[in-house]
Amino acid sequence: MLEVDGLTVSYGPVRALRGVSFAARPSTITAVLGANGAGKTTLLRAMTGLVRPQEGSVRFDDHELTGLPVEEVVRLGVAHVPEGRGVIDQLTVEENLRLGALWRKDKSDRKRALAETYDLFPPLAERRRRLGAALSGGERQMLAIGRALVSRPRVLLLDEPSLGLAPLVTAQLMALLAELTLLASLTVILVEQNARSALSVATWAVVINLGQVVVSDTAAAVGTDTGLRHHYLGF
């Protein structure tokens, strides 16, 4: 169980989150939706400790994540694919991927996870020795997602993963996420601009507006509420 409780984050005078609370049930996908500037990215960053909340807490199973250094949160099995640029430009594709799994003890499984990621994203396999700086936008996104997956996370925080990916690749990714929640009991928090596609794969949905939770319900309920859709989701 992943629980966010009363999270408040300010950037100087700017309040980005005001008392956000929700719980993500294990082995499900929770979509986090909202307009530009609603606070979605800030929410994910506060969950891994990249920004420090002024108030509130984040708990994962028996662990209090609030206040832990980022790297220790990640080592508990919480992987975070940040918005946009997560790839380390000066390292090769393979080095970026290896880095994702480096903290895990099981070396042979690290190799296996690497091979699985190459199967999942064939363009990466063809560009193993290429520097991160020399990838296209979509390839960078694949690499950032692949690097999170090789760590075999228990919680996966995705910030607009479909950005820059071809529709077919996005569809494959969504199908994979659904599969991983079932087979690997992965819990996914999916931040998406494309509400329709996120709701089609998510079980739960949280809608954020101006740093506050507007609705937290099943994806089906949110997707069929025309008022909500018109007001906050733009479809």
Binding site: T48, L50, P69, V70, E71, V74, R75, H80, P82, G84, R85, G86, I88, D89, Q90, L91, E95, R98, L99, G100, L102, W103, L131, A133, A134, G137, R140, R147, S151
Partner: protein, 292 residues
């Protein structure tokens, strides 16, 4: 002609020493964006450990190993206790701290060991080798300098390029926040970087001692030349440190040999000015990565 050859050989030998100290400067710069003004005096400190042990009749190689270990530990301790607390503080602080450490170490060494210079035994003969019928000014000790610094460089290169630890070190140097986000304990990596940098300095300290007027400030000028070498090499690249070291060593050897040894420090200044005005990013920095 033979004067030229001898000067070249001397240049290579001292260049390897500058390269070793420059490697230390580069490792610290890459990891923490700090110029470690205490790099030379830390090496002085570990070398005094070796010399003290030699005075008490410990074997040469045992003392050598102890000095390297002291160097490694000193680097780690300095990072943990002095550098770590500076994170997120204004830029000037690290300068003040490493410069302060430089003064402190030399002061303490002077108080304990005295400031008068003394001799230090060398591991190998320092008299020139005879090649064919010619005696050149390149000794067994010079060979040892060449071999040991090269060995260190190769080991470091293997560490960086072919091990998990090296991957963590490179990732942390390039993108610390992103590295944390994939579970790298960046703090430990920085400690290791400082330790390895100090180790490289210690090796140089041991190599310089037998051919210098050994006293608490015997590494000062070496640090200036090593800084020149590191800047020539671009401050970012270990290979750059090696090439920068050799280049600086050769040029200074020619300056000293043809124009007079008192002009060597001026030669270093000229190299610095030339490089900084022609290629401020150094001769060996990579082209800037694409910024997205």
């Amino acid at each position: 002609m033979s004067h030229f050859v001898n000067l070249s050989l001397n240049g290579i030998s001292s260049g390897m020493i500058y390269a070793s100290v420059a490697l230390g400067l580069v490792l610290v710069w890459r990891a923490t964006r700090i110029i470690n003004f205490a790099q030379g005096s830390m090496a002085m400190f570990s070398t005094y450990m070796a010399v003290t042990l030699l005075d008490r009749n410990l074997g040469y190689w045992e003392a050598f190993a102890v000095a390297l270990a002291v160097g490694l530990a000193l680097g780690a301790v300095v990072e943990r206790t002095l550098i770590r607390p500076l994170q997120g503080k204004p830029e000037l602080n690290p300068v003040i701290v490493t410069f302060g450490l430089f003064i402190l170490l030399e002061g303490v060494a002077g108080a304990i060991f005295g400031v008068r210079s003394r001799g230090v035994p060398a591991a190998f003969s320092q008299s020139g080798l005879t090649i064919g019928h010619h005696r050149v000014s390149f000794s067994h000790f010079d060979l040892f300098v060449l071999g040991s610094v090269l060995a260190l460089m190769v080991l470091m290169l293997v560490l960086f390029r072919a091990t998990d630890v090296g991957l963590r070190m490179r990732a942390s140097a390039f993108a610390p926040e992103m590295s944390r986000l994939v579970g790298v304990r960046v703090g430990r990596v920085l400690t290791l970087g400082w330790a390895l940098a100090s180790l490289a300095g210690s090796l140089a300290g041991l190599l310089v001692a037998p051919r210098s007027a050994f006293s608490p400030n015997y590494m000062d000028l070496i640090l200036v030349y090593a800084f020149t070498a590191a800047v020539v090499g671009g401050l970012e690249s270990p290979v750059g440190a090696l090439v920068g070291g050799l280049l600086t060593g050769l040029v200074l050897s020619f300056v000293g040999g043809y124009l007079g040894s008192s002009l060597e420090p001026l030669g270093a200044a000229v190299i610095l000015i030339l490089v900084l005005s022609a290629r401020p990013e150094g001769l060996f920095s990579r082209p800037a990565a694409r910024q997205v």
